[in-house]
């Protein structure tokens, strides 16, 4: 409705205009969406946005507690990664033991390692450990050149989260999520002077 339709002129019948006004005022009713609470009073409404309730269990969400990481279900090329041979969607979800500590900058990463057959460039879907979740102290420095460099044996690495450790390296202070979506993967075979690369992008 155009708000100008609510205007009246001297002599206009009042009831049709009144009904239009009533219809228009319905839009001012407040409805609480997710995470929103109202405190209503006769004189008005207070709105409380409680974002604590807005927990987002996105794919590959990493939650660390006491050197164990829980990773929510995520897929790469529709395949489910494993931890110690147990798929992330198992009834009892596996947890990753965080061993090895951080690098000198007190950082480490939870990653998904994807292994392809070097001849076909494809992930072997029969191999349940073709995609595994790992904890690493360093990323390959060639990662900054783009894509994930192949390790020479057909494995590429995609970071899921960065862990920040306390200065005594005994415990993890904070987790920063890197990946929020299911991923697609493609292996780019080496050509001329260019090394093999693994590319990841959101599904």
């Amino acid at each position: 409705m155009n708000v100008r339709d609510l205007y009246v002129h001297r002599g206009d019948p009042i009831l049709p205009a009144w009904n239009r006004l009533l219809e228009w005022t319905k839009q001012f009713r407040l409805f609480a969406g997710r995470g929103i609470r109202f405190t209503r009073t006769p004189n008005g409404t207070f709105v409380i946005a409680d974002q604590n309730t807005l927990s987002w269990d996105h794919p590959f969400r990493v939650q660390v507690s006491d050197k164990e990481a829980a990773i929510t279900l995520g897929t790469i090329n529709k395949l489910v990664p494993t931890i110690n041979g147990v798929a992330l969607d198992a009834i009892t979800a596996p947890k990753l033991k965080i061993t090895g500590g951080p690098n000198t900058d007190l950082r480490s990463w939870i990653c998904a390692d994807v292994r392809v057959d070097l001849e076909s460039g494809q992930i072997n879907i029969e191999d349940k450990d073709a995609i595994i979740v790992t904890h690493v102290r360093e990323l390959d420095p060639r990662s900054s050149e783009g894509g994930s460099p192949d390790d020479g044996r057909g494995t590429g690495r995609h970071p899921l989260a960065m862990l920040i450790w306390n200065t005594d390296k005994s415990s993890i202070r904070r987790t920063h999520q890197v990946t929020h979506f299911n991923q697609q993967h493609r292996f780019i075979v080496a050509s001329d002077s260019q090394p093999s690369r693994h590319l990841f992008w959101p599904e």
């Binding site: 009042i14 005022t25 009073t41 004189n43 008005g44 207070f46 409680d50 900054s144 920063h176 990946t179």
Partner: protein, 347 residues
Amino acid sequence: MNTISASEWNRLVDELRRNQVMGSTMLQSGAWRHPWEVTPSWDSEHKRWVATIEPGFINGLDATVSIALNESPEATRLRHAELGMEETDSVDAWLTEEPVLPLTAWRAIGADADPLNTSVTPNGTLTVSFEPVPEFFTALGVGEPPNISSQIDDFGIVEQVSGEVDAAAEKRLLRSCDLVLHQDRFATTTQWTQGVGIDGTFVQFNVIYQIPSNMRERAYIRATRKYEPSSSADMQDRLKGDWTDQTFDALHLATVYMVSPEGAAYGSEPDETWTPYVKHRVFWNLNHASNLLEPALKHENIVFNTGLAMGLLDSIANQILATINDQNAAIAEFLGRNTLEGRFWST
């Protein structure tokens, strides 16, 4: 019945009264924030606006901001402790170290903005154009830029200024600042060289890959008055030779806007009485890659026999540019294969 009862009338008033918003509260502890989310705040110690940025990652590494060592977080200072730096030296603070980025480069939009462009029509009218005020801020009471035009006639230059001049004192001012992400990469350079072949003169078109000085491993964020995307050089410029690509890729992350209270003096800088707004343009972590991973200073070239005498390099280049011929196509195809370009994509 052509009347409205008092009870009907009052019911409407009550309905509207109940639904008017008296106030709102945001409980933010533990709230999820997207990567690159910018939160401006007033730094009362240094009397300036600053921004904190939720860590965003490129290829698994968090980006950096450049700040003075004496304003950097403890973790940044520890990382630079053994480098013997002065307190005022700039250091790259990682976003996961929780630095605050000073916002000092503001551009004015609206009533007191600098002109963006001028144009002259065939009848001699000079028109000055300004960056438009986003509709959102117009609704908040930000004044529009003046409408200025000048007419050159028998009496000389007559300037016309129109707009809500009288209402200007009641309008609010607008400032903005762009946050831009940069990722260093190799650059390509083109050049022509010439020499004498067995059967005559040949020219050689070279593409050279250069590593930028102080190439950073991590992406870095800079606050700038206005982000201007670099226009990609057209093929002709590259073919002319002596052309150098930029040594980084840039991505506009966000724009921080500041809105003044009513009656702020023209040209004033944002202080604690101004209200910040942020327009985000990137919401997810990113990957970055170049189309080629060439070693620095590697050369690729293509050679043409011309049969022309030496010293005619410009003529040769111009001839290639002027005509569509096999050599032109060969160079263009060669250039396409050997030009470095970078891309960001979300992960």
